[in-house]
Symmetry: C2
Subunit: 292 residues, 2 copies
């Protein structure tokens, strides 16, 4: 019988829990609000225990310690969410139900989902980023998810603020980082409405596409990915993709010539998998934990 | 008897050839001018054959194909150097002397040298960049050198040009990339003299340190390295390091808190190994090829 894999996508607002198999089939899925960890984490462990899963893959909101060699592996870092700072997430899950567990960031796991089941299937160097309340990036390099000192925080790369931008950065730390200039709250602060209400306003998407294109230029020269995948609310604004590609190519200005860049429409793409890239990445992470 | 490892640091101006052992001892070293590949490459293969080395590690100037899964692995890409475009460097070496060979970029190999024998010994996530005629970056992620679609070209990340910068980018492709704003030729074009002649001019190093700090902010958020190492001529201007660290911390603005960043004087550092990081990295690359 195929192993039953638990998947836990731990977001700042809600927890998504699922049970599935290594082929990417989801058999059951529920969600719970992200209340204090002392309450919700044991409850989640119990949920998986009742379903007798053989392993669990966890994709957690950051910042958190994802390097298995770090003695604090599986703990969260400082976060404004009540109770969640410096919490032993992985240890508390294991105390409730002790099976092999994989643990990584929500965006690394979404990248893994796309590389295993989605539009990046078969590739081993992939950059995934999501634009929503914030901007987070997950990166696969040579088949491994990127960790390091901490994990990528590539939503906070510094960009050049455009002179015609009527807004200011909404990041409390950086006056011109990608997140501060291009995440959902900055769109709302700049134009007085959310992205979905501004779909027909060209100037909104020209500016947004420029910041995304600057970020893509940096990701391509830094990571040399075989594909760049964009998730989050912006990925639903399909009219923005041709703008992003055009501005990205203008910024790169033929500096690099590769078959992937020649096929730009398949190089910078929206997420696939119908918003299941995260939970499916958790399945794959759990499968890898079981195998290891 | 210890294996004899050949090391070849293939630069745009000269080729450095050495024979050593896996512990980092160099027994013999010579250099040859980088003339057309049809002449110099067979000559180099012969040099290694005469010394009966057991393996060779090659660090080549880019752009070049360094991903072993690519059918063009070991070939160069377009370059203005006569004869060197689309040249089968690795294949020609092998035709002359067939032993196990590793092949990577000059900067990836320098990064490997620092991670094996130098100031990053024992770390597995390291960012090395060199500022000279150009700016190139070598990156180790989880113990592997970063490849991907091609390899990092992180000297060409876009930065924000400072309003008080009296110069213009010297990169023919980008009006505000790191290389165009901060490599040796841009210093010379902006101030009318080379960096070594401008050591006592504060405004030169304030500006240079700012661009380097912007780049470090991007590298830290993208790669999450455990250490950043700066090589090339700029690393000899030791007065610049305190400026770089201060400006980098200001740009990052406490967004990330890690033990490594707390110890900033040991986080952003000049290269070690007395300019032998490249050739010693070739030794390690050769050792790995022999082992594989």
């Amino acid at each position: 019988m195929a192993a039953r894999i638990g998947a836990l996508e731990a977001g700042g607002t809600k927890m998504v829990l699922a049970v599935g198999t290594a082929d990417g089939t989801i058999e059951e899925q529920v969600s719970m609000p992200t209340v204090e960890p002392d309450r919700v984490v044991p409850e989640m462990a119990k949920w998986f225990a009742e379903r007798e899963v053989d392993a669990i893959g966890i994709g957690a909101f950051g910042p958190t310690i994802v390097n298995p060699n770090n003695p604090d592996f599986g703990k969260t870092c400082f976060t404004p969410k009540p109770g969640w700072s410096y919490f032993d997430f992985l240890g508390t899950m294991r105390a409730g139900y002790n099976v092999p567990m994989g643990y990584d960031t929500d965006v690394n796991v979404a990248c893994l989902g796309e590389a295993t089941f989605g539009c990046a299937k078969g590739l081993d160097s992939v950059c995934y980023f999501t634009i929503g309340t914030g901007i987070g990036a997950g990166v696969m390099v040579g088949g491994q998810l990127l960790h390091g000192m901490l994990h990528p925080e590539a939503g906070h790369i510094l960009l050049t603020k455009l002179p015609n931008d009527p807004g200011t950065s909404t990041c409390p730390k950086h006056d011109r980082c990608f997140e501060g200039l291009a995440a959902g709250p900055s769109i709302k602060a700049r134009w007085g409405a959310s992205g979905s209400e501004l779909a027909d306003r060209n100037e909104v998407w020209e500016l947004e596409a420029d910041y995304i294109a600057q970020a893509c230029e940096i990701y391509v020269t830094c990571y040399s990915p075989e594909k760049i995948i964009i998730g989050g609310g912006v990925a639903h604004q399909e009219q923005i993709f041709p703008l992003i590609r055009k501005k990205f190519l203008a910024y790169l200005n033929d500096y690099l010539k590769t078959p992937e860049l020649e096929d730009i429409d398949n190089y910078i793409v929206p997420n696939s998998l119908n918003e299941k890239q995260g939970i499916l990445g958790c399945i794959e992470l759990g499968r890898r934990a079981l195998e290891a």
